[in-house]
Symmetry: C2
Subunit: 476 residues, 2 copies
């Protein structure tokens, strides 16, 4: 990627100044965008642009981009489509580097005039050397630069996952999920209709971007499938790509056409190509977030052999039965424990109701931190186990132990994860009398690097995804 | 069902007194059970039994069941398996009606001596006319009688769903989920190894029980498959049965053998038989809770034609694309809106970024209560729509509207559901800056009879399940 190209991306991901065209004082979206930039602590300059207002949210407002007295790296356009061409001309005169169009009503309508308007806009921007993002998108969020998701204001902790999404709504949903689940982003890019900058441009950049270790991709369609495949096949051996494809069904495809004007193509061809390229394909946003969390926290996992602790601190053979069902049906293996391990487990546990096999039911002794530690260490020592999954239900535990004891139990899990003996994943089903405490435990464990999921099914899907990926990597 | 049989069940579901054998003062499980009964507000008498303690948690304790001076309807046994036979003899002498064994270490171990012990226990109980529940179970919870789940203490609002589960852990998990999601139970029955009372006994009762409208069933295996099939085929045309089958895979089956000593049988045969019987089969506890919520709140749904509002108060075409994908792949239909409806929608909405098709993207106007009401009424008037699904993300809305306005928007949804025009279901993805407000909205909507789900996928699965069921009912 040449220097000029890198400069374009610099203006997008580290803008020194942002103009908001269509800013307003009220509770309109043009007000929310300015307010969100202020509240998030963005350090660059913010220039609201509005034809009638003199001041917006304490900032001097300008009647047009041309009137802004300082350089503008990045302009967010929120005015109606009908007046966008004039704004592009203003941005050209001002030598704005990147223009992001929140504005919709272009090619996605499928109508002649809006399509023509989009083309004219692109032509004018190209003549002026402006790169366009969108239209019909929510642009870019960069947590390290305190640039929030422009619509919701969400800005989480900086991380090394980059979201590249043809849907602003999905960007918002993933950013919100990340905030609650400690999934940390380098960049979130919503590129909408992709009239100029498209998935291929961004993937080319992200392939090299040292701040992006993991890529999450939401696509509804692509104009150059061959190039996309090539790029993904180049990236996957270096960085995992988690792909969610919209428009996999007939109705979904029609909707994608209306949404971002995308032709979604044949599902079967896509799927086979993505598998070949080493891409991790998921089918829901939840599965995407679950898989990102696993990739973020866990080291490469060598194999698919799981030890399950079906319940921490209380008999839950039923959880073990369902966990075995879901894991094995996803291709994960639950190796039986050898006889001498069962004997050792018996010497540690020795309680009625315990089930000394894999899945392991600890019965009531699982709430004793010292015994729990011994059990985890024993499992970690097994050569044919690649990963441990453990079920914890604080509502159950808190009927038997104090909050301090609950903390001590979770100390064991955190210490174990930090010991790097064997990767640990926790399942914590939501709901119950102690939901607040449960959420606290969930936050604590996820902040300590333990991926945590609401069900065995979701955990197992995420694990199967990353294990398949690491298998691809080791062959690549 | 004859009168004597009904009396047995009366002692289980409306016991006037409960003895806890193995009660203790400390934070052991035998203490938790007594404390949970006290805290939940159970109105009957509680008799702790402990060989050494005189008083437990402020209640007079008895050295043996024989010493209790008043009648005992229901005894919970928590002492080790080795001393259980003596306790059964005590209960026989005392003429206890029902004995529930929390105690494990019987036939589920697969070992000769424990199996013999279980048989001897059953023989002694039968001679004394005692019905046994378990062993290896958490017994019965009846919210209307303030009898909590014995281990966790969870007791929610009374309702008309009965859980019948061969796993105490699943009973606990569903009760906890119900507490948070306003799923209301008539009874929760955990029957473990089913040495005496088994699924068939309880189903026979629940078929007739006027307080049970919906049955949730978790089974790991059954000794009399023909009778079970027959019963389920008799019940399904009257009451929906939601079944989760544990042990669907080889490893799951082995685990089920260790857990409750059940032989799980062939998955394919089961599946076909259950479909034939009209049973709603689900594959996870989440899907079970989701389906129960739908059955609890929604009237019978005539067909599979869905109108989707892909986002309330903000463009979310991407959500619409994925919603279309997931719904149609589950066999739900999204009928296109006729031309005159699109014209009417245009006259109501008239905003760039809106997508006036099914799924419908309301763009920014969806946050105006009056317009939202008009849109919902328009959709409700469509003859070929059976159900409306609507996506609401409070973190997005609260960037644009006040909390009072958010309330007004949700007032529209609540009023609409109460108008009984067309059933409404809401999707609300978790996470974000306003998670607390989102949870409040979620609680409010679910309490107002609107089933609410964290993703389109989960909502669509639950809808597909109940629509299939109502189709079966209309044919039956």
């Amino acid at each position: 990627m040449n220097k000029d190209k890198l400069k374009e991306f610099e203006a997008m991901f580290n803008p020194q100044s942002i103009a908001v065209v269509g800013a307003s004082s009220g509770r309109k979206i043009g007000g929310a965008v300015v307010r969100n930039l202020q509240l998030s602590g963005y350090k660059g300059k913010i220039f609201p642009v509005n034809p009638t207002e003199r001041e917006i949210l304490g900032l001097k407002a300008y009647p047009s981009v041309r009137e802004i007295p300082e350089p503008v790296d990045y302009a967010i356009i929120m005015v109606p489509a009908a007046v966008v061409l004039g704004v592009i001309d203003d941005c050209a005169a001002k030598r704005v580097k990147v223009v992001q169009l929140f504005t919709a009503g272009f090619s996605e309508t499928g109508e002649v005039e809006p399509i023509r308007l989009e083309r004219e806009m692109v032509a004018r921007a190209r003549r002026a050397g402006i790169r366009l993002l969108g239209p019909n998108c929510v642009g870019i969020s960069v947590p390290a630069k305190r640039i929030p998701v422009e619509t919701t204001g969400v800005v989480g902790q900086p991380g090394d996952i980059t979201i590249l999404a043809q849907s602003g709504g999905h960007t918002e949903t993933l950013a919100s999920a990340g905030l609650s689940r400690d999934i940390r982003f380098s960049k979130l890019i919503s590129f909408g209709n992709a009239c100029d900058l498209n998935a291929i441009d961004f993937l080319g950049y992200l392939k090299q971007d040292p701040e992006t270790r993991i890529i999450a991709l939401y696509l509804e369609g692509i104009t150059d499938g061959r190039r996309l495949y090539q790029l993904l096949a180049e990236i996957s051996p270096i960085k995992p790509v988690v792909l969610l494809k919209g428009g996999r069904t007939e109705v979904g495809r029609e909707m994608a056409m209306s949404h971002t004007g995308s032709l979604a193509g044949s599902a079967a061809v896509w799927k086979a190509a993505m598998k070949q390229a080493g891409v991790i394909e998921v089918s829901t946003l939840e599965e995407m977030a679950d898989t990102l969390m696993a990739l973020q926290e866990l080291p490469p996992i060598a194999g698919n052999r799981i030890a399950i602790v079906s319940q921490l601190g209380g008999g839950a053979g039923g959880a073990g039965v369902l966990a075995a069902d879901v894991c094995t049906s996803l291709g994960l293996e639950l190796p039986p424990f050898p006889g001498e391990i069962k004997d050792k487990l018996k010497s540690i546990i020795n309680a009625p109701g315990s089930i000394l096999r894999n899945p392991l039911d600890l019965s009531l002794v699982g709430r004793q931190p010292a015994l729990l530690r011994k059990v985890l260490e024993l499992l970690a020592g097994l050569a044919d186990i690649d990963l441990i999954m453990l079920n914890e239900r604080p509502t159950f535990l808190l009927a038997l132990v104090s909050k301090a004891e609950l903390q001590a139990i979770n100390d064991v899990l955190v210490d174990f994860q930090h010991s790097d003996e064997k990767p640990l994943v926790v399942i914590s089903p939501p709901g119950g009398m102690h939901e607040k405490e449960r959420v606290k435990v969930e936050r604590r464990l996820s902040q300590a690097g333990i991926p945590i999921y609401p069900s065995f099914e979701r955990a197992a899907k995420a694990m199967a995804n990353i294990i398949r990926y690491w298998g691809f990597r080791s062959r690549a």
